[in-house]
Symmetry: D2
Subunit: 143 residues, 4 copies
Amino acid sequence: MARPEAWRLSAEAYPHREIIQTRFQDLDVLGHINNVGMAAILESGRVKFNQATGLDAWRDRRWLVAQVIINYLGEGHFPADVVVASGIGQIGTRSWTILSTAFQHDVPIATCDTVVVMSSEGGLTALPDEYRAALEGWRVPAG
Amino acid sequence: MARPEAWRLSAEAYPHREIIQTRFQDLDVLGHINNVGMAAILESGRVKFNQATGLDAWRDRRWLVAQVIINYLGEGHFPADVVVASGIGQIGTRSWTILSTAFQHDVPIATCDTVVVMSSEGGLTALPDEYRAALEGWRVPAG
Amino acid sequence: MARPEAWRLSAEAYPHREIIQTRFQDLDVLGHINNVGMAAILESGRVKFNQATGLDAWRDRRWLVAQVIINYLGEGHFPADVVVASGIGQIGTRSWTILSTAFQHDVPIATCDTVVVMSSEGGLTALPDEYRAALEGWRVPAG
Amino acid sequence: MARPEAWRLSAEAYPHREIIQTRFQDLDVLGHINNVGMAAILESGRVKFNQATGLDAWRDRRWLVAQVIINYLGEGHFPADVVVASGIGQIGTRSWTILSTAFQHDVPIATCDTVVVMSSEGGLTALPDEYRAALEGWRVPAG
């Protein structure tokens, strides 16, 4: 388990931030946000990042989430909101990575790296130049 | 299936309103908010109502949700927020009812009636006068 | 809050039973199955009832869940399975009711009454005779 | 995104298997099991593995999930059950890894690597020899 890079512990280091509410149902028996609840919060932050930046061309092309890595850094609570800061990390031929950190009360509680691949009816497909340029516009500084 | 009373179709008729976010995971195969997702949204609205009004004396006494009735009035969507308007309806000897309506884009999409009972270690217990008075302060006009 | 009818406290009184697993994420801060988790368990039991009985003609027609009433009778736990017993209650012109009781360790922990309406592109639509007959075949004895 | 090692595509290569049900609420707008739903299924499989093997000493000590890596290999569906096969991978001084693969209709649809750390009131704590020996008994062959 690698420690997150230092820049990821600051919301301002990311090009985009979304406020995501916690829900009572996210809590586990210890009164903390459950791992799966945190995954749902990070997913909502990621989807809203994609929508806000116009990167969600899901009606024209199909995206597949290929990998999700979540590092749990601290305990999450209800009812305080979570800030999910996101940006684009590595960009490959047919895939890219969305990097996020979740903060509560300004404390980082989880990082999330999501690998997304683009597919068409014939299978995985290379990223169009136009789309690649859009992704570049939302790169994290240190990505 | 009774139609909701007319006053419940207006958020302003309730003494309290909470904005609750939808989540991507709430969606079902038709692209609408799933019934269970709506139940989770209404629960969060109800819990935040209890916290905001100070009616959540759950550390001192124990509450039990005894009944939940949800009427689905229309389709809910993501990512628009939902407004959950809530107030106190009927107040009994040992129980009370929290009435809520969920709105999206100002359109009522669900009502929820939740019967809560108060219990202590010895079983169900009568509402203390002080607590009853607090509940009265948050009654819906037509409750 | 009405007490459930006595026959609903017996799984054998229903024409169909499904075993539904609990999940760790269903638990709340008290270590019991959360209300929303119970709603999800009951939904899965209902959907599997519809599939097992062939009542799920959802590809040809569209169903809408119009109302869900859940009575919480006792505490649910993890990891024990839940038995969701289901049958058809009242059958109307355009709607019908699915009645269920959830049991854990043979103890009834929740009842659920779900009103379903049938719709077509033109709005709510009367139940076809053939479908009504199929529903009749799965009536609860005391429905 | 690394491809999973070949041995992880076979349920029989793991020392333990749990059957985990899918739920209707797991489905997303494309009719597949949502990423978060899959995380919940894998969590239930992992928790039941820990319970079945006696590795869940959570009442005596406290576990923290530090990292979850999920690789999505294929689409999951409802209502078919999922087999979650699990075993112990790397064992460190204060942490260990639970390796799992989820199968549906014998097809691998996701792998999950979970890093767990043991903590006591004073912070992270070394694994007791006895517990380490128990973990060794559930190692995956190629872990």
